[in-house]
Each structure stands twice: as C-alpha cells, then as structure tokens.
C-alpha cells in the first residue's frame, strides 16, 4: 500500500515538461507580437496604421502647409516639389489636407467602432448567455438593424439628425452594432456549453462573475479581430457619407469630402480626387491586413 501511494505521488515529475517560469500573460502578449511580426503582411499593416496615427497626432508639425490656407493663384497645380500631391481648386495643399484629414478619419473610425462595440458586446453577451425570450427579442432587434442594406441606415439617421461629423460617428456606430452583437452572441453560446463554465456554475457563481470573469476574457480574441476589421469598414463608410455631402462639411479636410470636391476637376486635375482616395484605400488595406494577421495569430485552429 505504501509503495503504491508513493507511486501516485511521483507520477508527475517531469522536469522537462514545463517551460521556465515567466509571467504567462506577458508571454502570451509577447508570442502574439512575435506572430504578428513574423507574418509579413500584418507587419506591413501595423506599420502603416502606426504611420497614420503618428501623422494624425503630429499633424501641425508634419504638414507643410495650412490645410485651410487658400492660395488661389496656385490652384489645381499638379504634384510638384513644393506641393507633393498638388493643390486643389482653392490652391490648398492636398498633402497637408490629407495629413490633417487622418485626424478626422481615425477619430470617426475609432469612436464609431467603440460605440458599436460597446452596445454590440452588451447585447451579444446578454442574448447569448440568457438565451430564450431575451435572446429572441434582442435578435429580432438585430435583424431589424440588419434589414437596412449597407449604409442606408446610417443615411437615414443622418437625414434626420443632419449632416455633421458627430452624427456620422453615431450613425456608423449603430451600423456596427449588429456585427459585434452577432459575433459575441455566437461565441458566448459556444462558450456556455464548455465544461469550465459548467464547473464554475456548479460552484454557484453569480451570472455577473460568469459573464465578466469567465466568458468575456475568453471571447476577446474575436472581438479584437472584429474591432480591427470594423475600423476599416467604419472609415470607408464615414468617407462615403462625407462624399455624399452627409458628413464633414467644407472646408474641413475630410478625405471623402475632398474626393467629392475633386470630381468636378476629374478631367483637368485628376490628382485632386486621386490622392484622398488613395489615402482612404491605404489605411483601409492596413486595417484589413492587421485584422487578418490578428485573426491568424489568435485563432486556435491555426496553432499546430
């Protein structure tokens, strides 16, 4: 009997089995960074995003000209050494306007995604966790929001609230709610069936504890991925609204609005419409790259 008891005790010794002691949370962040950096595409995406953010924060120091400075004698100039991206119909430097414009676009993107994520996560958690009647009601509301095709819901909201950048953030935020809600709901429902949730329920844990300590931390990966990808969509949508004249108002250097201004001179000065469009396309590509990279890095199925 004694021998066997010791047998049990010694079964676990395997010094090679565990890695050296380090903070596992730090390890995880580190390994995520390593994965993102080794994935060249997401590295490129990350760097571009960083450049845009730097441009936004330090716009006054970086921009060569005043974004609103009218210089009519030099209007509609093609790209030159003085004006790398040329000037618009009022002689304003397009590069400076694009640099300042990153402030607007990134703000709109981040704020609207935060709005969408906040409400979406809340609705998704409640819906997925409680199920039944609550779920039915919330999902019907989400269905209604999804029934508005594309940017029409945002347009409808703007048409009521009036064209303004703040309203664009609200509209695009609401437009993002269903995506977050669905993803969070799905993950919550999957997670609810996992045994460790049952284990914690068997301990009599409160719903609050289960949702915020056990479910939410475990569904952060898809939320972060979605958030990043959603930033791309939000910036696109906001630019689209401004393009239609439903967002930022002249003379503010919003990319979509600048693009819209450039349409008039498409024949004579195509650069006026080209560069703002490129600015949008590149940041959107960057967020998409970063989002895809995060998905690959965080998706457990990709691990071998």
């Amino acid at each position: 009997m004694e021998i066997n008891q010791s047998n049990v005790e010694t079964t676990i010794e395997d010094p090679n089995f565990l890695p050296k002691k380090k903070s596992p949370r730090l390890e995880r962040v580190k390994s995520l960074m390593v994965k993102l950096v080794t994935n060249k595409m997401s590295l490129v995406g990350g760097i571009i995003v960083l450049i845009y953010f730097v441009a936004a924060v330090f716009a006054p120091w970086i921009a060569p000209y005043d974004p609103l400075g009218i210089d009519l004698p030099n209007k509609l100039q093609p790209p030159t050494a003085d004006h790398w991206m040329g000037t618009d119909d009022k002689g304003r430097d397009i590069l400076s306007r694009i640099i300042y414009g990153s402030r607007l676009s990134l703000t709109v993107g981040v704020v609207s995604v935060l709005i969408g994520a906040f409400f979406g996560i809340a609705l998704g958690l409640i819906s997925g966790y409680y199920g039944k009647f609550v779920d039915t009601v919330i999902m019907r509301i989400i269905d209604v929001l999804l029934a508005f095709p594309g940017i029409l819901l945002a347009l409808a909201i703007i048409s009521a609230l009036g064209p303004d950048l703040i309203n664009v953030m609200i509209a695009v935020g609401i437009f993002s709610v269903p995506t977050f809600a669905r993803i969070v709901r799905g993950s919550t429902m999957t997670l609810k069936k996992v045994e460790y949730i049952d284990a914690i329920k068997a301990l009599g844990a409160s719903d609050f504890r289960i949702i915020f300590l056990h479910i939410l931390p475990n569904i952060m990966s898809p939320i972060i991925v979605q958030g990043t990808l959603r930033l791309a969509t939000a910036i696109l949508t906001a630019a689209g609204l401004s393009f239609l004249g439903m967002g930022a108002q002249p003379p503010s250097p919003e990319w979509g609005a600048m693009l819209s201004d450039g349409r008039t001179f498409l024949w004579s000065a195509p650069h006026v419409a080209t560069f703002p469009g490129l600015a949008i396309a590149i940041i959107v590509i960057a967020f998409n790259l970063l989002g895809d990279g995060l998905r690959d890095a965080l998706d457990p199925r990709m691990k071998n």
Binding site: R140, I141, D143, V144, L145, L146, A147, F148, P149, G150, I151, L152, L153, L155, A156, I157, I158, S159, A160, L161, G162, A232, L236, A239, G240, F243, L244, G245, M246, G256, L259, G262, R263, L266, W267, P270, A273, T274, P276, G277, I280, A281, V284, I285, N288, L289, D292
Partner: protein, 306 residues
C-alpha cells in the same frame, strides 16, 4: 421543408414591422416642425395648423404610426414635397434602373468571386493564390466611389471605351457594375477560399482520398458543394451591401436610380420621399434574404436555422 418556408416567411413580418417602425421613428427625430416644413415658408400660422390636423400630426405618436402603416399597406407612401407626386410613383420610376444595376453587380460578385476563390484554394500558396488574395484584399479596401471615379478617369476619359455616365445600353452598365460588384467579389473570393480550405481538412475528404478519388474530383465534387454552404450566406449579405452601395455608385455615374434619388431627397429635405424609398429598399432586401435562406436550406438540408 414546407413548415420551414412558412415559418421563415412569417418571421419576416416582425422584421418588416420593425423596419417601418425604425424609419418612422427616425423621421420623428427630425428637428423642426414637419408641418411648417411642408406648408412652406410663406404660410400663415393658421395654414400650418390646418395642415397639421389634416396630416394627423396633432395625434399621439402611436396613432400616427398606425395611420402610416395603414397607408403603406394600401400603397400610399405619402407625397413628395418637391415634386408633389405620390412617393410610390417616384420610386417605381427609379426602381427598375437600380434593380438592373444590382443584378449585374451581383453577377460580377458571384462569378468573379467564386472563380477567384476556387482557383486560389486549389493552388494554395502558389503565386496565383497570392496574387488573387492580394487583389481581393485591395478589392475589399477600395472605396467604391473612388474606384468608380478612377474607372471613369481611365476607361472613359483616357481610353474612351465606356461612356462616362448615363444609362440605357449595356456599355453604360459595365463600369457601374464593376464598381459596385468589386468589393463583393473580393469578399466572396476570400470566403470561398477559406471555406474550401476548411472543407479540405475534413474527415470525409480523407475518406475520399482513401477511396482513390482523383484530386480534381475531390475538389469539384466532394469539397465544392460543401464549401458553398457558407458562401451562399455571404452572397446574401453582400446583396444588402450592394443595395446600399447603389447610393454611392449612382451618384458617381450620374445614374437616375433609386439610390441617387435618396441622396437628392435627403439634400432637399424631402422627408416623405426619403422615408418611402428607404422602406422600399429595405423591404426588397428582406425579401432577398428570405429567398437566400430558403435556397440555403435546399443546399444544406441539415442546416439548423433555429
């Protein structure tokens, strides 16, 4: 199957009610008095009050809503402020143009997207695959209003292959359909690829290999049919994005469709027209989704939609 269809049809009713409610409520949020707006600036107070009671605007909100719904069901979407014509008539004039545009765009989306996705998946990690995926990434990221302008710039202004704007012949359709269909095609391509790769990892593909089935048959017979299931959902959702996208595309190409009309109506503050057209487009989308879901059920019989 029959029960499923009936249930699915019935499920769209609350959604439609919800949509109408949202549209109705959003319009209530408009600052200012609609009666004043309608009566025009020169109207006297008395005229405004008369108009207000005539339109039922002095009634409680829910009664206004019920009246609104009653009218909608009877086909009365109100009267356009600008043209003074029934909203429904205005919409019906523009709708065929938008539907035609949407149709050709979805063709671009599905054909281009599926083709690219399947090619990409079968040649995983090859140069072709990488090129297609880079193209798809750019495709989802380009603002379509900008893409439209660039297409005009090169194909209409520089090479003069296609007309700059307008509507009528097939040549008019090409650029707008490409503009509108590109992002959808890119999304479908990415989805098809990942779905194929997912399916190829499944046990039953291994079974097929163990049976000695040729690679080509494994891809096109065993894998594709299974991989299409999630793609159908994406196509359905893309149709919505596409309908919304008409707003921008029609503006860029100066096409007199519903989308452009909505933008103009918002600009003119022609609220009944905005309300009516958003309602109609949304209802159209709900209908399309219904059809997609039912066809989905046919492809994948074990799919559990509830």
């Amino acid at each position: 199957m029959f029960i499923f269809i009936v249930r699915r049809v019935l499920q769209t009713i609350p959604v439609l009610i919800g949509v109408s409610l949202v549209v109705f409520l959003i319009m209530q949020m408009v600052p200012g008095d609609p009666a004043v707006l309608l009566a025009g600036e020169s109207a006297t107070e008395e005229q405004v009050n008369q108009l207000r009671s005539q339109l039922g605007l002095d009634q409680p909100l829910y009664i206004q809503y019920f009246d609104y719904i009653k009218n909608v069901i009877q086909g009365d979407l109100g009267t356009s402020i600008r043209s003074n014509r029934p909203v429904l008539d205005e919409i019906l004039v523009r709708l065929p143009v938008t539907i035609e545009l949407a149709f050709w765009s979805i063709v671009v989306t599905v054909v281009l997207g599926l083709l690219a996705g399947v090619i990409s998946a079968t040649k995983q990690r090859s140069l072709t695959d990488v090129s297609i995926m880079v193209a798809a990434l750019i495709g989802v990221s380009l603002p379509n209003f900008w893409l439209g302008l660039m297409l005009i710039l090169y194909f209409s202004v520089q090479f003069q292959i296609f007309p700059v704007s307008g509507w009528g012949t097939f040549a008019h359709i090409v650029l707008p359909a490409l503009t509108l269909g590109t992002s959808g095609a890119a999304i479908v391509a990415r989805m098809t690829r990942s779905s194929m790769l997912e399916v190829i990892r499944q046990d039953y593909i291994r079974t097929a290999k163990a049976k000695g089935v040729k690679q080509r048959y494994i891809v096109y017979k065993h894998a594709l049919k299974n991989a299409l299931v999630p793609v159908i959902t994406v196509v359905g959702l893309q149709f919505g994005a596409l309908l919304g996208g008409t707003v921008l595309t029609e503006s860029v190409f100066a096409i007199n469709g519903l989308g452009r009309m909505i933008v103009d109506a918002i600009r003119m503050r022609d609220l009944p027209l905005v309300q009516g057209s958003i309602l109609v487009v949304s209802a159209l989308f709900v209908l399309v989704n219904l059809i997609v879901d039912i066809s989905y059920k046919f492809v994948d019989k074990k799919v559990d939609l509830n």
